[in-house]
Symmetry: C2
Subunit: 223 residues, 2 copies
DNA sequence: GGGTTAAGTGGACTTGTGTCCGTTTATAAT
DNA sequence: ATTATAAACGGACACAAGTCCACTTAACCC
């Protein structure tokens, strides 16, 4: 989508709101707002890259982007929203590539459980590569006490794992009594930002080791 | 310690600092400090019970306990420390009871994997019963970027699961190539506060259903 | 072009966590 | 009892996230 660079502003047509969980039938942002959004994202990306997402405050971003805090918060109501938006582009590519490969594997009659192991490995690698951002993005979901929204990436991952588990059952690779929905979430739990930080930093397990153990667990589901 | 209390408090001899991760060879707290500690804990317990840990601020607690914020923070450097201290007593009892029953099961030749499933179910129930507190206590561990301390309860749970897994391997119930250490943490991942909140609130799975799925996973380890 | 209006804007303000530091006090040695 | 001193104390302060609201302006219509 041609992200605009830091200071100079390109007068392109407003990037169709790819970066935000776009609702359909809404009128597009005003031009100045779109420009601000782009500048904010670009500035945030730079600052996060320089100092790490946690060390950069929303005020820093607003200042560097030359907008007021009110403006920043209008575009991105929470810091996690901003983090999610920054990951969005990268995640889409990741998602596409994953789906493509998965299609290929299915065509090649790769066992579903192998596909599942592969997918989980991919998810782990993605999470690892975006750990700081994910960690900062996390509170977006589980903030209030009651029911809370789930980020699209998280939802998609869960759906994918469910799908593969279900397919594995239908292929007779896994016991039919398995609670697909819940087991999918259990398998993904170690990849949630907080848990992965714990495994990688507190426990200091190397990523391949974590992946190997997850694979063990998955393969052990085979009947 | 003679706690004064908000809700009536028993005038028992001071409970030797059970409530804090006590370092060994250190001189005991000054009497006034110990009294404040007790009062703070008692007040915090009441306020948390009334409004939920998240809705109670450290300032609230300091005020209600009749001490300055500086004093509060001297006793409990972080809010999570206070939460952990509040769970401490309850956790010790839980731990003792668990160990006792585990000993009984071992004596009765209960298969290690069954013990493991039972233990994990217990852990889940405990976590569920202290979710709010755990959630608030969580940041204690994973705050800074680098290596971070792990709470004693968390460590003990991990050690227990590791031990049972290892025993299961030695009993031939589980494949010997299993990475006991990492797999133990993977099995516990869904019980971390953040993950359990996600499962219970966002996904709205009933606790027994979560436990059943975890049990499935554990039993599938059987060779 | 001028008017209307919803969207956008800036920055002061609120709230909560955690820090700092000058003052006070319990404890123990004299 | 007196005094030394380390611990304890309290509350002002720093800092970050997120809210509010009076003011401005782009976009659309006549």
């Amino acid at each position: 989508m041609k992200v605009i660079s830091v200071s100079p502003e390109s007068p392109e047509p407003p990037p169709p709101a790819l970066l935000v969980l776009s609702a359909e039938g809404e009128r597009p942002e005003r031009a100045d707002a779109a420009a601000n959004r782009a500048r904010i994202l670009s500035v945030a990306e730079r600052l996060f890259g320089e100092k790490g997402p946690h060390a950069v405050t929303m005020a820093d971003i607003a200042r560097a982007a030359g907008v007021g805090q009110g403006t920043l918060y209008r575009r991105f109501p929470r810091k996690p929203d901003l983090c999610l938006a920054l990951m969005d582009h990268q995640f889409r590519e990741f998602q596409d590539a994953t789906l493509r490969e998965l299609g290929r594997m299915t065509g090649a009659r790769t066992p579903r459980l192998d596909q599942l192991a592969w997918v989980v490995e991919r998810f782990a690698a993605f999470a690892e590569g975006n750990l700081d951002l994910l960690r900062e993005a996390q509170p977006a979901l589980a903030d209030s006490e009651a029911g809370l929204p789930e980020s699209p990436p998280s939802r998609w991952q869960a759906l994918t794992v469910r799908g593969l588990l279900q397919a594995a059952i239908e292929a007779g690779e896994v016991g039919a009594q398995t609670d697909v929905v819940v087991v999918a979430d259990l398998l993904l739990a170690p990849l949630r930002a907080e848990s992965l930080c714990f495994l990688r930093h507190t426990r200091a397990y190397a990523l391949p080791r974590v992946i190997a153990a997850m694979t063990t667990l998955i393969r052990s589901l085979r009947v």
